[in-house]
Symmetry: C2
Subunit: 262 residues, 2 copies
């Protein structure tokens, strides 16, 4: 029987709210199983760039990570956000270790090839070193992963946190029973974005197709859900999408949206 | 026979010079023994504070770390500097893992008590978790440690990199044969600061006392040397002070200043 492992992703909106973040970290620190935390960036990087008078580069409506912005996200995600999460978790008795993909070489990527748009210093994940992550977990460490990866050439690369969480979950699913949990500021996948009580309790590929056809699932949620179902197809046992305040209830099946293949 | 371990500290002046830093990292990556790198901050934090219009607080000529400056050093030391060193080392085949004292709880400190001066968010080291560091080394990881520690209350604290290196070396000396190596922009301890060829090849407590009496050792070097001899008295086998370009030669006993008790 493989060991259970939680891969939990916490969104930037929660990071930005000190009280919500503290509530979340306390429940994360109390999880019974082995766990990994992947965090988004939040608004601090944008605010910091603005204070440093670095303009956000946009091409065709897409955000570009130039060298100046890469340095900002390295400072803010890899330093300020990551290390404060780690220090806070340590004070709750959780032996957190803050990492980017470069640390221990855990998540290697390739600088996104230029097709029509040059996204700059953005990484597309190539490989997750599940054995290195397993070695950290075996030392009773709790990895806290910032949304940065690295290339074989030694570049740091800005990387989507949702994708890092699902790639990590898939890699770890080779040897563990992995639950991938996306925590954010909504109560789950909603049929009405205005109504926080319209949570869809469970989704399978069939019911998801039905909701897509009827157009009730919010467009912004579709890439996240496609990604989640892809993770299930690659061996992740369960994906949960829930409010950051309801981590324990969601794991108990009493809150959030649970995705499974059947 | 205990295993050899190198604890190498690299100074801020080397960090600030990209070419010198690259040369150093290549030789560090090639070290045969297990090793730990502790890095200073360099001028980037001061430059960043200036760009963010954060004034350096001084009291009685001493630099104070207020909350705004703590955030800057967390970003710069824990993020920008540390993660770039790690990514570069990874590209040289060195399985580096970037850490602050908070990560894995490796170096815990206490916020410096206020006597006459309130230094702000500055940490005085209380405990190094040598077993946690040993577990990382046993996973073939090379810790790269930024000059930040944490308190039991979950605060990050600005901490002197020289002190972090010596405290780490002393803690590891319980189970390993530790060489503590300070790399900087001079060729060693000099009898004439203007003459880079005036390196003192070796120092013992007796010869050190002699040099102190004759006044030939530069004042700025005295706290570093006192600290180094204290580390030797607490079990570190050897302390070397050398130029960052001469790491290999210094380890071979062909460059720098070697300190020992006899």
């Amino acid at each position: 029987m493989p060991q259970p492992l939680y891969v939990v992703k916490i969104g930037g909106n929660v990071i930005d709210n000190a009280e919500a973040c503290t509530r979340f970290l306390k429940s994360f620190a109390g999880l019974a199983a082995k766990s990994i935390l992947v965090h988004g960036g939040g608004k601090v990087a944008t605010q910091m760039a603005s204070r440093l008078q670095i303009e956000t580069q946009m091409v065709d409506g897409r955000r570009i990570t130039d060298k100046a912005m890469l340095d900002v996200v390295t400072m803010v995600y890899g330093g300020l956000v990551n290390k404060n999460l780690v220090a806070q978790l340590q004070s709750y008795g959780c032996n957190a270790i803050g990492l980017t993909g470069a640390d221990g070489g855990i998540i290697r990527s390739v600088k996104r090839p230029v097709k029509t748009i040059d996204y700059g210093y953005v990484g597309d994940i190539e490989e997750v070193d599940d054995r290195q992550i397993e070695a950290l977990l075996a030392s009773s460490l709790i990895p806290v992963i910032a949304p940065l990866t690295y290339s074989a050439e030694g570049l740091l690369l800005n990387t989507n946190a949702d994708t890092m969480a699902s790639a990590t979950a898939v890699a770890m699913a080779q040897t563990a029973e992995v639950k991938l949990i996306y925590c954010f500021e909504k109560k789950g996948v909603l049929t009405d974005v205005e109504d926080d009580n319209s949570v869809i309790a469970s989704l399978t590929p069939e019911t998801y197709a039905h909701y897509l056809d009827s157009g009730v699932i919010n467009k912004g949620m579709i890439p996240k859900l496609d990604n989640a179902f892809a993770a299930l197809e690659q061996g992740v046992s369960q994906v949960i999408i829930c409010h950051a305040d309801e981590l324990d209830q969601a794991i108990a099946g009493e809150a959030g949206t649970t995705l499974s293949l059947v």
